[in-house]
Symmetry: C2
Subunit: 316 residues, 2 copies
Amino acid sequence: MDKIRFGILGPGKISHRFMKGIAFAEDAEVVAVASRDLMKAEAFKSQYGLRYAYDDYVKMLENPEVDMVYIATIPSMHYEQIMLCLRYHKHVICEKPLLADSAAIKECFAYAGSQGLFLMEAQKAPFNYLNQEIKRRLEQGIIGQVKYIEAAYCYASFAQNYEHWVYRREDGGGMFDVGVYAIAYANMMAGSPLQKIQAMADRTPTGCDGFAVAMLEYENGVKAVVKGAIELNTENKALIYGTEGYIETVNFWKNTKATIYRGDTKEDIEIPMPTDFYPEIEAAVSGVKAQLLQSPIMNEEASLQIMKVLEYVRQV
Amino acid sequence: MDKIRFGILGPGKISHRFMKGIAFAEDAEVVAVASRDLMKAEAFKSQYGLRYAYDDYVKMLENPEVDMVYIATIPSMHYEQIMLCLRYHKHVICEKPLLADSAAIKECFAYAGSQGLFLMEAQKAPFNYLNQEIKRRLEQGIIGQVKYIEAAYCYASFAQNYEHWVYRREDGGGMFDVGVYAIAYANMMAGSPLQKIQAMADRTPTGCDGFAVAMLEYENGVKAVVKGAIELNTENKALIYGTEGYIETVNFWKNTKATIYRGDTKEDIEIPMPTDFYPEIEAAVSGVKAQLLQSPIMNEEASLQIMKVLEYVRQV
């Protein structure tokens, strides 16, 4: 297989950032885009010099030049679209949160596996080079034994357009929309399966969480507090506390800089990456090229561990 | 009644700070000190020019010149000593945490009330002038509707002298020793009874919490996360988030400065106080002079609301 040829499903804001990321990938290119709105698809196609634009998802999937699909539509469409892509024998990388519940995750991975296809949730934090480096240093004991992690991604839209999907009870709300980054980060840094989840949520009139906080306990004893909000501005940073110091990073899902505090010493580290979307694209592309069905990092189990928290928060 | 005449029970480090505070009180003075160690009591007496030093608590309590006792001993001694002081008809202000469980709090307040005596937990945060001013501004809606509060008091002694009282299962550990400040602060700022408590704790070999995190939900819908630790260093600050901004304070139990963030504006406020112990002493002294049996602010109910969290964390 030469270059992995991508089709994009949903040419929204996030797909422009995907294009910026894939520009650095030597083994991949985008050849097609599909949108329900042909004007949008055509505009995206001409902006990036793509070969094909479609107003019908199936037509794009029927194109044999498309090897893999990047799904960047709203969460409520993911299940149907992932299954559709798999039926047309395309590998899939799909925006977070991958799906709305554990059963759907298991079903989609099982089907992808049975078809010999690669499926991955598009989560930036686990592939971010800085985070990978921090994880290596944690394993070397740079802050002693890791005890406690905090991560928050919270914003206040105050738009309060309750018709918007972000206010949907089942696949909207603070924890689902952005807290998911904090969960992915905590799970990655804890490096152990979840053992116990507790949570509290402030509900909007539509029943989703305007903001939510979850306390996580991992099998290895590490603990974490993660926050997500669509109706509350907080500092969006992550802290990892160990017995001999702590590490602090702002915008932990895309950042290249962190500070390590030990005793009275303070070390700034910077691990550059080409752009925030590149590492996850690189991981997915290299997985497909290596004929893997799942990413060693962001695989079915990792998506299920994230979903456990989202499902818990939903029923609080 | 002229000046309230204090006897101090336990001339430790904290009692020196009490002396520094009471120096500003026009209506109170310290006349006596008692310690099991006469040398300590004598040294304290001569340092501050007191009239009496005792190596026997009862002897101090038999002195009719003592109107009120400040108890600054270790928590496991509080119950016995509060009851002893009350039996000798002395008003009492006792260091935090007041007692080890709700039943003891109820019993001591009931007995104090039946004897016409004033009893108060020595909690700095609720009387701190800055905190009082912040509370006033919150009530005026300075950050819109208050939604979420965070407060942490965590330190890492690493002494790990498991014989020390701070490692006692029943009345030691992070939440009991210092997290109690964070609880008192959150309860004060939420301004509503606790409705739900969830918590997680990292236990030391002695069974107390090396660090603990609690999620609190109040009847008025406000939510909070409080942390306490004796084995983990974190930033010791408090944040109050509202729909229109947030307020940040470091060392919130004794601080005189805070920052109010609203939109793109940032306002620093400073509310000086003579010294960190003065406001609570002033409150207790004015309460006694007004013949109150409890502080309007730090009363039985306030101590019980704090204890609810401590009791919950203990059994996690």
